[in-house]
Amino acid sequence: MTKSIYDQLNASGTVSKQRFVETFSGDALDTDRWSSEVVTTGTVAMSDSLNGGINLATGTTSGGRAKIHFNNIRQYSPTGSAMIAVAQRNIDANNYSEMFLANDYSSSVNAQWADIYHRPDSTNIRLQTRDGSGYNNTDTGVARHINSMAYKLELKSASCELSLDGVVKAISTSSLPTAKLQPVFRTETDTTSSRSLNLTYCEVYNT
Protein backbone atom coordinates (compact mmCIF):
# COMPACT_ATOMS: atom_id res chain seq x y z
CA MET A 1 0.00 0.00 0.00
CA THR A 2 1.38 3.37 -0.94
CA LYS A 3 1.96 5.58 2.07
CA SER A 4 1.23 9.26 1.98
CA ILE A 5 3.97 11.76 2.64
CA TYR A 6 1.47 13.45 4.93
CA ASP A 7 1.43 10.42 7.23
CA GLN A 8 5.21 10.30 7.24
CA LEU A 9 5.45 13.95 8.30
CA ASN A 10 2.61 14.03 10.81
CA ALA A 11 1.42 11.87 13.68
CA SER A 12 -1.83 10.03 13.05
CA GLY A 13 -4.83 12.31 13.35
CA THR A 14 -2.75 15.47 13.33
CA VAL A 15 -3.89 18.54 11.41
CA SER A 16 -0.67 19.73 9.84
CA LYS A 17 0.50 23.32 10.00
CA GLN A 18 2.08 25.33 7.20
CA ARG A 19 5.17 23.80 5.64
CA PHE A 20 7.07 23.87 2.39
CA VAL A 21 10.09 22.14 0.93
CA GLU A 22 12.26 23.68 -1.79
CA THR A 23 14.92 21.58 -3.48
CA PHE A 24 16.29 24.24 -5.85
CA SER A 25 16.55 21.87 -8.77
CA GLY A 26 15.41 22.40 -12.36
CA ASP A 27 16.01 24.90 -15.10
CA ALA A 28 15.15 28.03 -13.13
CA LEU A 29 14.03 29.33 -9.77
CA ASP A 30 10.36 28.69 -9.05
CA THR A 31 9.14 32.24 -9.50
CA ASP A 32 5.61 31.38 -8.41
CA ARG A 33 7.03 30.67 -4.97
CA TRP A 34 9.97 33.08 -4.83
CA SER A 35 10.61 36.68 -5.76
CA SER A 36 14.17 37.54 -6.69
CA GLU A 37 15.96 40.82 -6.98
CA VAL A 38 19.44 42.11 -7.60
CA VAL A 39 21.11 45.44 -7.03
CA THR A 40 23.43 46.51 -9.85
CA THR A 41 24.24 43.52 -12.03
CA GLY A 42 23.84 40.40 -9.91
CA THR A 43 22.12 37.20 -10.94
CA VAL A 44 19.82 34.60 -9.45
CA ALA A 45 20.19 31.47 -11.54
CA MET A 46 20.06 27.70 -11.27
CA SER A 47 23.58 26.33 -11.07
CA ASP A 48 24.84 23.95 -13.77
CA SER A 49 27.06 22.09 -11.32
CA LEU A 50 26.98 19.08 -9.03
CA ASN A 51 25.02 19.93 -5.86
CA GLY A 52 24.91 23.51 -7.12
CA GLY A 53 21.28 24.36 -6.38
CA ILE A 54 20.41 27.99 -6.93
CA ASN A 55 23.17 30.56 -7.14
CA LEU A 56 22.68 34.07 -5.75
CA ALA A 57 25.53 36.13 -7.16
CA THR A 58 26.34 39.80 -6.83
CA GLY A 59 27.81 41.89 -9.61
CA THR A 60 31.22 43.45 -9.40
CA THR A 61 30.22 46.73 -7.87
CA SER A 62 30.63 47.26 -4.15
CA GLY A 63 27.19 47.21 -2.57
CA GLY A 64 25.84 44.80 -5.18
CA ARG A 65 23.26 42.35 -3.82
CA ALA A 66 21.18 39.35 -4.81
CA LYS A 67 18.17 38.17 -2.84
CA ILE A 68 15.19 35.79 -2.86
CA HIS A 69 12.11 35.94 -0.65
CA PHE A 70 8.32 35.43 -0.52
CA ASN A 71 7.40 39.05 -1.35
CA ASN A 72 6.07 39.54 2.17
CA ILE A 73 3.72 36.57 2.19
CA ARG A 74 4.44 35.63 5.79
CA GLN A 75 3.00 32.28 6.90
CA TYR A 76 5.49 31.29 9.59
CA SER A 77 5.26 31.87 13.32
CA PRO A 78 7.79 33.92 15.35
CA THR A 79 7.12 31.67 18.35
CA GLY A 80 6.83 28.24 16.75
CA SER A 81 8.60 27.60 13.47
CA ALA A 82 11.78 26.22 11.98
CA MET A 83 13.84 26.80 8.85
CA ILE A 84 16.40 24.34 7.51
CA ALA A 85 18.73 25.47 4.75
CA VAL A 86 21.71 23.86 3.09
CA ALA A 87 24.00 26.55 1.75
CA GLN A 88 27.51 27.34 0.63
CA ARG A 89 29.30 30.66 0.09
CA ASN A 90 31.87 30.89 -2.72
CA ILE A 91 34.38 33.23 -1.08
CA ASP A 92 34.58 34.28 2.55
CA ALA A 93 36.14 37.74 2.38
CA ASN A 94 33.82 40.67 1.67
CA ASN A 95 30.85 38.29 1.42
CA TYR A 96 27.76 39.38 3.38
CA SER A 97 25.63 36.27 3.14
CA GLU A 98 22.61 35.98 5.38
CA MET A 99 19.67 33.62 5.75
CA PHE A 100 16.60 34.89 7.52
CA LEU A 101 13.16 34.24 8.75
CA ALA A 102 12.15 37.87 8.44
CA ASN A 103 9.02 39.96 8.64
CA ASP A 104 9.95 42.34 5.84
CA TYR A 105 12.31 41.39 3.02
CA SER A 106 13.03 44.94 1.99
CA SER A 107 14.06 46.89 5.03
CA SER A 108 16.29 46.69 8.07
CA VAL A 109 14.50 49.64 9.66
CA ASN A 110 12.52 48.38 12.68
CA ALA A 111 13.32 44.91 11.40
CA GLN A 112 12.06 41.73 12.97
CA TRP A 113 13.98 38.61 12.11
CA ALA A 114 16.08 35.64 13.04
CA ASP A 115 19.22 35.76 10.92
CA ILE A 116 22.06 33.35 10.18
CA TYR A 117 24.76 35.96 9.92
CA HIS A 118 27.94 35.77 7.88
CA ARG A 119 29.53 39.21 7.85
CA PRO A 120 33.11 40.45 7.88
CA ASP A 121 32.58 42.22 11.22
CA SER A 122 32.39 38.85 12.97
CA THR A 123 35.02 36.13 12.71
CA ASN A 124 32.42 33.54 13.60
CA ILE A 125 28.98 32.76 12.26
CA ARG A 126 26.37 34.54 14.34
CA LEU A 127 22.73 34.25 15.18
CA GLN A 128 21.10 37.65 15.18
CA THR A 129 17.57 38.24 16.45
CA ARG A 130 15.71 41.50 16.06
CA ASP A 131 12.38 42.50 17.59
CA GLY A 132 11.71 45.80 15.83
CA SER A 133 13.52 48.00 18.32
CA GLY A 134 16.72 46.23 19.27
CA TYR A 135 18.88 43.30 18.35
CA ASN A 136 20.89 40.53 19.94
CA ASN A 137 23.94 38.86 18.43
CA THR A 138 24.88 35.38 19.63
CA ASP A 139 28.19 33.92 18.56
CA THR A 140 28.20 30.29 17.44
CA GLY A 141 31.89 29.79 18.09
CA VAL A 142 32.16 28.43 14.55
CA ALA A 143 34.38 30.40 12.21
CA ARG A 144 32.97 31.62 8.91
CA HIS A 145 33.83 29.23 6.11
CA ILE A 146 33.03 28.36 2.53
CA ASN A 147 31.94 24.76 2.99
CA SER A 148 28.45 23.44 2.41
CA MET A 149 26.58 23.36 5.70
CA ALA A 150 23.12 22.46 7.02
CA TYR A 151 21.73 25.37 9.00
CA LYS A 152 18.63 25.18 11.18
CA LEU A 153 16.84 28.08 12.84
CA GLU A 154 14.21 27.16 15.38
CA LEU A 155 11.96 29.81 16.84
CA LYS A 156 10.31 28.85 20.11
CA SER A 157 8.09 30.70 22.55
CA ALA A 158 11.01 32.22 24.49
CA SER A 159 14.12 31.51 22.47
CA CYS A 160 15.66 31.10 19.04
CA GLU A 161 18.20 28.38 18.34
CA LEU A 162 20.73 28.04 15.53
CA SER A 163 22.08 24.60 14.75
CA LEU A 164 25.01 23.95 12.41
CA ASP A 165 25.19 20.49 10.88
CA GLY A 166 22.80 19.20 13.53
CA VAL A 167 24.46 20.70 16.60
CA VAL A 168 22.96 23.63 18.51
CA LYS A 169 25.58 26.36 18.49
CA ALA A 170 23.73 29.51 19.51
CA ILE A 171 20.63 30.33 21.54
CA SER A 172 19.12 33.80 21.71
CA THR A 173 16.56 34.71 24.36
CA SER A 174 16.34 38.45 23.77
CA SER A 175 15.18 40.73 20.98
CA LEU A 176 13.12 37.90 19.55
CA PRO A 177 10.80 38.68 16.64
CA THR A 178 7.10 38.89 17.40
CA ALA A 179 5.66 39.32 13.90
CA LYS A 180 4.88 36.74 11.22
CA LEU A 181 7.83 35.64 9.10
CA GLN A 182 8.99 34.55 5.63
CA PRO A 183 12.26 33.01 4.39
CA VAL A 184 14.77 35.48 2.93
CA PHE A 185 18.23 34.71 1.51
CA ARG A 186 20.68 37.36 0.43
CA THR A 187 24.30 37.93 -0.45
CA GLU A 188 26.18 41.18 -0.84
CA THR A 189 29.69 42.24 -1.80
CA ASP A 190 31.58 45.23 -0.47
CA THR A 191 34.36 44.96 -2.99
CA THR A 192 34.67 45.09 -6.76
CA SER A 193 34.34 41.41 -7.41
CA SER A 194 31.37 39.09 -7.24
CA ARG A 195 30.33 37.13 -4.16
CA SER A 196 27.75 34.38 -4.12
CA LEU A 197 25.64 32.05 -2.04
CA ASN A 198 24.44 28.68 -3.28
CA LEU A 199 21.33 27.06 -1.79
CA THR A 200 20.53 23.40 -2.35
CA TYR A 201 17.67 22.92 0.11
CA CYS A 202 15.20 24.93 2.14
CA GLU A 203 12.39 23.72 4.36
CA VAL A 204 10.25 25.89 6.62
CA TYR A 205 7.46 24.73 8.89
CA ASN A 206 5.37 25.79 11.83
CA THR A 207 5.66 23.63 14.94
Binding site: T2, S4, T14, V15, Q18, D30, D32, R74, Q75
Partner: protein, 198 residues
Protein backbone atom coordinates in the same frame (compact mmCIF):
# COMPACT_ATOMS: atom_id res chain seq x y z
CA UNK B 1 6.37 -1.68 -7.07
CA UNK B 2 6.44 0.85 -9.89
CA UNK B 3 6.07 4.45 -8.91
CA UNK B 4 2.71 6.02 -9.71
CA UNK B 5 1.55 9.61 -10.06
CA UNK B 6 2.00 11.58 -6.85
CA UNK B 7 1.96 15.28 -6.12
CA UNK B 8 2.17 17.63 -3.14
CA UNK B 9 1.13 21.24 -2.85
CA UNK B 10 2.31 23.27 0.14
CA UNK B 11 0.39 26.48 -0.63
CA UNK B 12 3.35 28.51 0.59
CA UNK B 13 5.18 31.27 -1.26
CA UNK B 14 4.35 34.49 -3.00
CA UNK B 15 1.60 33.08 -5.23
CA UNK B 16 -0.17 29.92 -6.35
CA UNK B 17 1.96 27.84 -8.75
CA UNK B 18 0.96 28.21 -12.37
CA UNK B 19 0.18 24.50 -12.76
CA UNK B 20 -3.12 25.31 -11.05
CA UNK B 21 -6.04 26.79 -12.93
CA UNK B 22 -8.26 29.23 -11.09
CA UNK B 23 -11.84 28.86 -12.30
CA UNK B 24 -14.85 30.99 -11.57
CA UNK B 25 -17.64 28.62 -12.59
CA UNK B 26 -20.18 31.30 -11.71
CA UNK B 27 -19.58 34.86 -10.50
CA UNK B 28 -16.20 36.39 -9.78
CA UNK B 29 -14.25 34.96 -6.90
CA UNK B 30 -10.94 35.97 -5.38
CA UNK B 31 -7.84 33.76 -5.20
CA UNK B 32 -4.86 34.78 -3.06
CA UNK B 33 -1.96 33.48 -1.03
CA UNK B 34 -2.54 34.43 2.59
CA UNK B 35 -0.13 36.75 4.38
CA UNK B 36 -0.83 35.13 7.76
CA UNK B 37 0.66 32.41 9.94
CA UNK B 38 -0.60 29.00 8.77
CA UNK B 39 -2.82 30.87 6.29
CA UNK B 40 -2.12 28.89 3.12
CA UNK B 41 -4.20 29.85 0.09
CA UNK B 42 -7.56 31.56 0.21
CA UNK B 43 -10.53 31.30 -2.15
CA UNK B 44 -13.48 33.63 -1.82
CA UNK B 45 -16.64 33.12 -3.85
CA UNK B 46 -18.57 35.89 -5.50
CA UNK B 47 -21.24 37.52 -3.37
CA UNK B 48 -24.27 36.03 -5.08
CA UNK B 49 -26.14 32.78 -4.58
CA UNK B 50 -24.62 29.92 -6.60
CA UNK B 51 -21.35 31.75 -7.26
CA UNK B 52 -18.61 29.14 -7.20
CA UNK B 53 -14.84 29.29 -7.56
CA UNK B 54 -12.26 26.50 -7.61
CA UNK B 55 -8.63 25.68 -8.23
CA UNK B 56 -8.08 22.66 -10.45
CA UNK B 57 -5.81 21.09 -13.08
CA UNK B 58 -7.77 22.32 -16.10
CA UNK B 59 -9.03 18.82 -16.81
CA UNK B 60 -5.62 17.16 -16.71
CA UNK B 61 -6.90 13.98 -15.08
CA UNK B 62 -4.08 11.80 -13.73
CA UNK B 63 -5.76 10.11 -10.80
CA UNK B 64 -7.61 6.83 -10.73
CA UNK B 65 -11.28 6.45 -9.81
CA UNK B 66 -10.50 3.05 -8.30
CA UNK B 67 -7.04 3.48 -6.80
CA UNK B 68 -6.15 6.94 -5.53
CA UNK B 69 -5.98 9.07 -2.39
CA UNK B 70 -6.36 12.79 -1.89
CA UNK B 71 -5.45 14.47 1.40
CA UNK B 72 -6.00 18.13 2.11
CA UNK B 73 -5.83 20.41 5.15
CA UNK B 74 -8.42 23.14 4.92
CA UNK B 75 -11.03 25.21 6.67
CA UNK B 76 -14.17 27.17 5.89
CA UNK B 77 -14.87 30.52 7.44
CA UNK B 78 -18.64 30.36 7.35
CA UNK B 79 -20.97 28.63 9.76
CA UNK B 80 -24.41 27.23 9.20
CA UNK B 81 -24.70 24.70 6.43
CA UNK B 82 -27.05 26.91 4.42
CA UNK B 83 -24.48 29.71 4.04
CA UNK B 84 -21.92 28.15 1.72
CA UNK B 85 -20.33 24.84 0.84
CA UNK B 86 -16.64 23.97 0.95
CA UNK B 87 -15.80 21.48 -1.78
CA UNK B 88 -12.60 19.52 -2.22
CA UNK B 89 -11.51 16.21 -3.66
CA UNK B 90 -11.34 14.61 -7.07
CA UNK B 91 -13.51 15.51 -10.03
CA UNK B 92 -13.48 14.65 -13.71
CA UNK B 93 -14.86 17.94 -15.00
CA UNK B 94 -14.65 21.19 -13.09
CA UNK B 95 -17.76 22.71 -14.64
CA UNK B 96 -19.96 19.62 -14.38
CA UNK B 97 -20.15 19.06 -10.68
CA UNK B 98 -22.21 15.90 -10.43
CA UNK B 99 -20.51 13.59 -12.90
CA UNK B 100 -17.63 11.30 -11.96
CA UNK B 101 -16.35 12.69 -8.71
CA UNK B 102 -15.46 11.87 -5.13
CA UNK B 103 -15.51 14.91 -2.91
CA UNK B 104 -16.01 16.51 0.46
CA UNK B 105 -19.19 18.59 0.65
CA UNK B 106 -18.91 20.71 3.79
CA UNK B 107 -21.77 21.31 4.44
CA UNK B 108 -25.14 21.63 2.75
CA UNK B 109 -28.88 21.71 3.35
CA UNK B 110 -28.74 23.64 6.60
CA UNK B 111 -26.61 21.01 8.29
CA UNK B 112 -23.10 21.39 9.75
CA UNK B 113 -22.38 17.72 9.08
CA UNK B 114 -20.00 17.18 6.14
CA UNK B 115 -20.88 14.74 3.38
CA UNK B 116 -18.98 12.49 1.05
CA UNK B 117 -20.46 13.05 -2.39
CA UNK B 118 -19.71 10.58 -5.15
CA UNK B 119 -20.93 10.53 -8.70
CA UNK B 120 -20.72 8.07 -11.54
CA UNK B 121 -21.47 8.99 -15.13
CA UNK B 122 -25.20 9.34 -14.60
CA UNK B 123 -26.08 9.78 -10.93
CA UNK B 124 -24.80 11.46 -7.79
CA UNK B 125 -25.45 10.85 -4.09
CA UNK B 126 -24.15 11.79 -0.66
CA UNK B 127 -23.55 10.07 2.64
CA UNK B 128 -23.15 12.14 5.79
CA UNK B 129 -20.21 11.81 8.14
CA UNK B 130 -20.90 9.72 11.20
CA UNK B 131 -19.31 11.99 13.79
CA UNK B 132 -17.45 14.84 12.10
CA UNK B 133 -18.47 18.41 12.51
CA UNK B 134 -18.22 20.92 9.70
CA UNK B 135 -16.87 23.60 12.01
CA UNK B 136 -14.60 26.52 11.14
CA UNK B 137 -11.32 24.92 12.29
CA UNK B 138 -8.67 23.49 10.00
CA UNK B 139 -9.15 19.78 9.42
CA UNK B 140 -7.15 17.09 7.63
CA UNK B 141 -9.48 15.45 5.13
CA UNK B 142 -8.74 12.38 3.08
CA UNK B 143 -10.72 10.64 0.37
CA UNK B 144 -9.61 7.16 -0.64
CA UNK B 145 -10.97 5.81 -3.92
CA UNK B 146 -10.71 2.03 -3.91
CA UNK B 147 -11.87 -0.74 -6.17
CA UNK B 148 -14.99 -1.43 -4.10
CA UNK B 149 -15.66 1.69 -2.04
CA UNK B 150 -14.75 5.28 -1.32
CA UNK B 151 -13.77 6.41 2.17
CA UNK B 152 -13.91 9.89 3.68
CA UNK B 153 -11.80 10.54 6.78
CA UNK B 154 -11.46 13.62 8.95
CA UNK B 155 -8.35 14.06 11.12
CA UNK B 156 -7.52 10.39 10.76
CA UNK B 157 -11.01 9.12 11.68
CA UNK B 158 -13.02 7.23 9.05
CA UNK B 159 -16.35 9.00 8.70
CA UNK B 160 -17.95 7.53 5.58
CA UNK B 161 -17.52 4.36 3.57
CA UNK B 162 -19.59 4.60 0.41
CA UNK B 163 -20.18 2.01 -2.29
CA UNK B 164 -22.79 3.67 -4.51
CA UNK B 165 -22.39 5.98 -7.51
CA UNK B 166 -18.62 5.65 -7.66
CA UNK B 167 -16.70 7.45 -10.42
CA UNK B 168 -15.56 5.45 -13.42
CA UNK B 169 -13.13 7.75 -15.25
CA UNK B 170 -9.91 9.50 -14.30
CA UNK B 171 -10.06 12.63 -12.20
CA UNK B 172 -8.17 15.76 -11.17
CA UNK B 173 -7.77 17.41 -7.76
CA UNK B 174 -9.83 20.47 -7.04
CA UNK B 175 -10.75 22.71 -4.11
CA UNK B 176 -13.03 25.69 -3.63
CA UNK B 177 -16.32 27.10 -2.49
CA UNK B 178 -19.94 27.44 -3.55
CA UNK B 179 -21.98 30.35 -2.23
CA UNK B 180 -25.42 29.11 -1.21
CA UNK B 181 -26.90 32.16 0.49
CA UNK B 182 -27.44 35.87 0.02
CA UNK B 183 -25.20 36.78 2.95
CA UNK B 184 -22.18 37.73 0.83
CA UNK B 185 -19.00 36.01 -0.28
CA UNK B 186 -17.88 32.78 1.38
CA UNK B 187 -14.23 32.06 2.09
CA UNK B 188 -12.22 28.85 2.39
CA UNK B 189 -8.51 28.27 3.07
CA UNK B 190 -6.24 25.38 2.16
CA UNK B 191 -2.64 24.87 3.28
CA UNK B 192 -1.78 21.34 2.12
CA UNK B 193 -2.83 18.94 -0.58
CA UNK B 194 -1.41 15.59 -1.57
CA UNK B 195 -2.81 13.29 -4.22
CA UNK B 196 -1.50 9.95 -5.45
CA UNK B 197 -2.44 6.77 -7.19
CA UNK B 198 -2.14 3.60 -5.17
Amino acid sequence: MAYKQHFIEWFSGKQLPSYWTQTNVTGTGTFAMNDSVDGGFSISSGANVNDESYINFNNKRQFSPTGSVIIFVSKKFFTGGSDGIEYGGLRSNITNSNVNNALLENSSGGSEIPNLRTSDSSASSTTSASSASGDTSFHAWSITCGSSNIILSEDGITEVTKTTNRPTISMQPFYGVLNSSVSGADVVNIRYMECYNT
